[in-house]
Symmetry: C3
Subunit: 448 residues, 3 copies
Amino acid sequence: MPASGLTEISTIACILFIFLVPLAGAGFALINAGLGRSRSAAHIMMSSLSALSVAALVYFACGFAWEGYIGRPGHIFALSGKGWNWIAAEPFFFRRLAFDGSPASLAAMLQIFCVGLAALIPLGSGADRWRLRASCLSTALLAGWTYPLFAHWVWGGGWLAQLGANYGLGHGFLDVGGAGTIHVVGGLTALAVTWILGPRRGKYSADGMAPAIPGHNAVLVAFGCVLALMGWLGLNCAGAILFTGGEPSGSVLIAMNTVLAAAAAALTAALITKIRYGKPDASLCANGWVGGLVAISATCAFVVPAEAVVIGSIAGGVVMFSVEWFELRLEVDDPGGAISVHAVGGIWGLLALGLFARFHRPVSNIGLNIAGGAATGSEAGQWLAQLIGVATLLGFVLPLTYAANWVLNRLYPYRVSVEGERQGMDLHELGAGAYPEFVTHTEDFIPR
Amino acid sequence: MPASGLTEISTIACILFIFLVPLAGAGFALINAGLGRSRSAAHIMMSSLSALSVAALVYFACGFAWEGYIGRPGHIFALSGKGWNWIAAEPFFFRRLAFDGSPASLAAMLQIFCVGLAALIPLGSGADRWRLRASCLSTALLAGWTYPLFAHWVWGGGWLAQLGANYGLGHGFLDVGGAGTIHVVGGLTALAVTWILGPRRGKYSADGMAPAIPGHNAVLVAFGCVLALMGWLGLNCAGAILFTGGEPSGSVLIAMNTVLAAAAAALTAALITKIRYGKPDASLCANGWVGGLVAISATCAFVVPAEAVVIGSIAGGVVMFSVEWFELRLEVDDPGGAISVHAVGGIWGLLALGLFARFHRPVSNIGLNIAGGAATGSEAGQWLAQLIGVATLLGFVLPLTYAANWVLNRLYPYRVSVEGERQGMDLHELGAGAYPEFVTHTEDFIPR
Amino acid sequence: MPASGLTEISTIACILFIFLVPLAGAGFALINAGLGRSRSAAHIMMSSLSALSVAALVYFACGFAWEGYIGRPGHIFALSGKGWNWIAAEPFFFRRLAFDGSPASLAAMLQIFCVGLAALIPLGSGADRWRLRASCLSTALLAGWTYPLFAHWVWGGGWLAQLGANYGLGHGFLDVGGAGTIHVVGGLTALAVTWILGPRRGKYSADGMAPAIPGHNAVLVAFGCVLALMGWLGLNCAGAILFTGGEPSGSVLIAMNTVLAAAAAALTAALITKIRYGKPDASLCANGWVGGLVAISATCAFVVPAEAVVIGSIAGGVVMFSVEWFELRLEVDDPGGAISVHAVGGIWGLLALGLFARFHRPVSNIGLNIAGGAATGSEAGQWLAQLIGVATLLGFVLPLTYAANWVLNRLYPYRVSVEGERQGMDLHELGAGAYPEFVTHTEDFIPR
């Protein structure tokens, strides 16, 4: 019997949507591996499996205890006569969670995968130089503290979700499929890790040139994009049911918006790279595609398809300029473009919800039934709630993840030794390459 | 609330079936890439992402407006006292489509992926020489005109579907999972494109020899076959619900038939290549597998498993001989075998429906409830309806797609320059190879 | 209308779970290919497609006839006043099976894929030396006799399932997702095949050294692990509904346990290889991950997540030591580690059910409703039933599969010729390599 709140059909639909989410993880892993060097390919895949594993176990151990779910116990903080829920009060190890198809158990299941997705994002940025155990430690931190804390505020009935009920700011901060909770949190962690690691050897030469170091396998990258799309279909649809009270039949709109945003973003990226560099760039188009997915996941349930196309197109453009800006201006060496795709794309998506989402017109039959959210919020207030959420990400989550990773880096240095980087992560850390039978020319690198 | 016509359970099942369909697209992209050259691998993957994107956006913009759905407005043409529905009358941009889980919105969602599948088919045939932007233009044409027009006739209540009601030809032209609408349309477009492009440099020498140019990655090809199977399970089951009024529980029969047909076709192909060439050919077996999937998708809901084995076996044989015939007799250079697999395999499937489908015996509980189709049609009439559909494909769709692509080729030449072909599509059109760190010997090609 | 016994929602959920199962097959194929040599990569993928095809067709032809389903006709054997059901009595070719969503038709659909999974297992062990047609013959044997026989005893209401009703041993032998029926049967067949084939040339030198022959593509291996996880989610959930009478909403617990067991096993493997060899081993971690999946599949519906972590951790350790023991002590050359992962991991899972499963506490709302099983069995009896099942596997199935494969090997030699092995399976058996354009150094093998 499903728990109250979800019909049996919604429960089953939600379970099946959740089961598609690991495809997004598989896609991320392939994209990261494909955009990195061949001599680190086994390492990044091994890091991905490890990150998924560590994230799942740590989230099980303590992450869910901090995140909780709407309507379940939390620590309330009274301020100016209003109660603000700032952290959940669940026991560790899912001990009070009934695995009976209750919405809370479904949310826990979904989060086990979502936190893994967030943990995969920094791996793309730290490619070719981040030590395996360091990335596991950083993942533990993300899955055990940073992610659940922010996700509680958004999806667990926390203070960001309460902005609607407490101050009349629309429905409170909204994020259907995790543009903020998964992607901006993961992307800002990637930024922190990249700052701590520094650029790859040879990326920025003394004369200020930054030669592109091409990814080693473009086929994996493009293939990963299609897998990511499929995972996103599941993720956005499950998020809409669990976190915004949507009906499963609203999934048609969500899926349509998701596909169109990715398509528009990829083509925008192709157009921009064609104009700027003379030829469309396959890697950047892949980044655009994923950026479109990231952006639409905030707002997929609340816009019509034409708006999804607009949001996706802008996401594609924003990601392109962000990639260039981080690489050339800020000298942040991010092989997978993860910061631009996930952090910048996600922030755009969160803001786009404030700009485009309309709850009073009948775009679909997705009911909006957010615990702690006002039944009828103003649209200007919604925009302000989104701004507050983005400010929290930049002003609180980024310093938090930077400080925590800085401390970890002191305790256990993140960056591989110079000798190890020269040798390649595969041989240095795993003792075996990804492609031992293929002849490669990785050291004297000749772009072909 | 689901719209009238489908129960809530059917709606949810259909959504989830549709979400599996992109796996077929991922599979096609990998098969096309694997059967092409390594120096075009990034290009074909990039072309695939672009084709999926263009197809989705164009179908959204105008494709659905021409295709529509059974029971929705269309332009009717009166002939000999009967009304023939020849094109839908929907507004552009899904403007009158309620995304509430109604069958029409589900059909639109499914088609967004199906039209992408159809657009991937010609990419395999044009591999190694078709320019990226030309393939995008051709995709726009397919998704905006050719595909929706024919699909309206079959799936949108158009004149081919009306053959039953208007002339008593069985249930009218039937195609459960798109053997005709997706595969023959895509495969005939592939034929048109291949005629326009001409063979790859070095394929047909002056002395009439046609050396096989092997695909560069057999692992991707076989892996793509398994992914394609999974996408097909979703596609056939969703098509049965949306276009033939099937019950979701009938999906068991459909899935069983789909698997058995693919298996029989692959083994038949292995046997034939073993007999003819001395050794089984992995690429041709993969072609056989997909050919079996294509053939069964017409008729999967209306045959018993033993018949599916027969249909698949014949499909495997037909595809083998067709590949040889096109390559050696017609000198059509089709690296991915897409014409044989999709056009020839699909035509066989459409005819097989006329031969094997039996609507009056209880093969399953799939109800047949086709709008515009007679409740009880004759079986001989069904066979005639299938013949008329195939004749329409060959006599109308093929000239249409050839003429349209011929015009596009005049406006924007399809084929890459001789220098570009020598250099490889990746470097020439994208400025970067798919595998920049691997040592390859692509020019002085030595089969290993 | 779904058949009695399952609600319509359960039927649909089950169909969709089953549709995920081929991802496990795709994952196995990639893992096997990645752990083998590059010069056999096309061969192993072709063998995988062939094995899936042969398994499906043979299971359709006669396998289901022997396996049947709970509550359907079987041959009963009277012993000491009790009826023992030892084989099903179905007609060949699914002739009496109604494809109406009845539980029996769902079980047949699931088994079509499961028997394919079992058939893929020996391919990893016989990599680089097992002839294609021999593996097809062996698959036919597995799918047509060994697998259905044992699966009937467990899942078809056979004598192992009857141990509860007949002798009060708990609920009889239990295996939710096929740890025994799929993995131990497949793994023991792999052991038999490996014994018959002997080690690869150069694996065991005269001085007793066994140099590791690394797999040729670590990316495929890790990617395959994520795909395998997804297939397992579907497999375990479908198995729970069809073979232990579970509710679909219990899938949340099953999925959580599945993920946590895989994660715990992979990390345990990383830790053990780090301690023993100085560096974590990517291939062995992948083996650990799959070993965790295999182990939990026996008991996933009957334990809490913390127990799943324990079962997974032990599985990871057991698989590590088993791999070393088989490779160095028993000199069994198993390139994919399939014997350890599937046979040893599966046996541990079956025993773990006896140790951990508790049916009387409310871990979930999964009802236990096994035909032929006692409504309330003792927990000590359950442990004994599991022991009897494992003893049957080792004492009956292993000799059976060894003897049958030994006879087949006499009729059609399994091992490729010395010349063929030197040349590589791809060129020798298929006439074309998997990667004809890449420069490889396979003969003078230099680990990089």
